[in-house]
């Protein structure tokens, strides 16, 4: 923390290194000071912070989440997304905090963080503060973290009763970045009507996108084909994908609609099961 306070933007934290090291190998990132946080074992692991939330240390590796049975129980959305996050060798090193602080809009976890309304704890020599996921991602690879701050912990709400989650993505190859990914959660009331629906998308703009209008459109309604179609249309309007040689903007927008409809239908089915 003292080093980060002294060097500010000149210093980078090295967590799993699975995003930072490639950019350093390409000399896209040239950092004067690299602070290896891997020996800080206190920064890894999950602990229950209340009846409805869990604190996940920033240095918790994806392989640890994969092996912990609590992940599937408490965070079915993350459990379903994990196999899409790169490859086993990358997940053996990659960390949830590093992934979020890297803030790649094409990455899965930032979209999941906004879909779950996660909160992120930043620490510096000056003190600490909590940042809502929706406020954390300010641009492509840019976050709300100040130059002297480190992301140390993520607070995730555990899956509620009568809720269902679904993660879907389309990528050119297994483990590649998604052309479009959709992370959604649906909670229904005793009558089967939607109590809350949240839809996050990856690779759909400069930041992970939370499609608030689409989620709100489902509130209080029995989710059927017409509701799902409408939400899919709203998601297509909410996003601004960049397009690339792998997929045009139009194709990405098309995919976002298709995946949203499929994922919503599945999440609703799981919530009602």
């Amino acid at each position: 923390m003292a080093l980060k306070a002294e060097y500010g933007d000149e210093a980078r934290f090295l967590a799993g290194g699975q995003s930072l090291l490639p950019t350093m190998n390409f000399r896209l990132t040239q950092t004067a000071v690299l602070i290896d946080i891997n020996p800080l074992t206190g920064l890894s692991g999950m602990k229950k912070s209340g009846p409805e939330s869990v604190h996940v240390g920033a240095l918790t590796r994806y392989c640890a989440l994969e092996r912990d049975p609590a992940t599937a129980r408490d965070f079915p959305l993350i459990a379903e997304a994990l196999p899409h996050i790169a490859h086993p060798q990358i997940r053996n090193r990659g960390t949830i905090g590093g992934n979020l602080a890297h803030a790649d809009p094409a990455s899965e976890m930032p979209a999941i963080a906004v879909a779950l309304a996660a909160r992120l704890r930043a620490q510096s020599k000056r003190g600490e503060r909590w940042i809502a996921a929706s406020e954390f991602f300010s641009g492509a690879l840019v976050t709300a973290l100040q130059a002297d701050e480190m992301l140390v912990e993520v607070e995730l709400p555990v899956a509620k009763p009568r809720s269902g989650a679904c993660f879907m993505e389309v990528a050119r190859r297994r483990g590649d970045f998604a052309l479009i990914g959709v992370a959604c959660t649906v909670q229904v009331d005793d009558d089967g009507r939607c109590a809350e629906a949240r839809i996050g998308l990856c690779n759909a703009g400069e930041t992970p996108v939370l499609a608030e209008d689409a989620g709100a459109s489902l509130f209080g309604r029995l989710i059927g084909p017409a509701e799902i179609d409408q939400a899919g249309d709203l998601v297509q309007r909410a996003i601004d994908p960049g397009g690339s040689i792998h997929a045009s903007k139009e194709f990405q927008r098309h995919l976002a609609g298709v995946l949203t409809k499929r994922a919503l239908a599945e999440a609703n089915k799981r919530a009602s099961a």
Binding site: L3, L14, G17, Q18, L21, P22, M24, N25, F26, L34, I35, D36, I37, N38, P39, C63, P83, A86, H87, P88, Q89, I90, N92, R93, R174, G175
Partner: protein
């Protein structure tokens, strides 16, 4: 975190003690040196291949504290106090092959062989943890290792055979 800076130089040096294939090595390395380059150039263990150098191809995969990792996405300094296993440590001695290597030979699981060390290290950990895998599990475990020659079918065949032989 290491802060043994030498004023005036652009990069710090670190003294690392690392166990590779059961042998302890002590070397002084620049902070920017990759683990893959450390293994190849400093320890002269050139069996670990370097393909893409940005974590996509998997050729540089080694076993770090029991798990398969990309050695091109780690710094040599990070290996201080840790144990690494490379392809050179797979077989018991120079005259024998590990059962996974034997199966690769028997099934023609390699052509040019460039990706092979990374595949062997990935599969070593996978087969230790999954002694009776099906084809889908093998393909999923192999997804992080690119091979441009074989089309993967013979590698999958080799892993099914290796798993069978390892089960005895």
């Amino acid at each position: 975190m290491s802060t043994d800076s030498q004023s005036g130089s652009e990069t710090d040096d670190h003294t690392v003690t690392v166990t590779v294939n059961g042998t302890a090595y002590r070397r002084t390395v620049e902070s920017r040196l990759l683990l893959s380059d450390f293994l190849r150039h400093d320890l002269l263990l050139a069996g670990t291949h370097v393909g893409c150098e940005h974590g996509v191809c998997g050729a540089c995969t080694v076993i770090f504290d029991g798990v398969a990792v990309r050695s091109c996405l780690m710094l040599a300094a990070q290996a201080d106090g840790h144990a690494v296993m490379t392809v050179e440590g797979l077989a018991g001695d120079r005259n024998h092959l590990h059962p996974i290597q034997e199966a690769m030979r028997d099934c023609h699981g390699l052509q040019c062989g460039y990706c092979t060390p990374g595949i062997l290290m990935t599969m070593k950990v996978f087969l230790d943890e999954t002694p009776a895998p099906d084809e889908a599990q093998i393909r999923e475990a192999l997804s992080g290792n690119l091979c441009r020659c074989t089309g993967y079918q013979h590698i999958v065949d080799a892993m099914l055979l290796a798993a069978e032989r390892l089960r005895g």
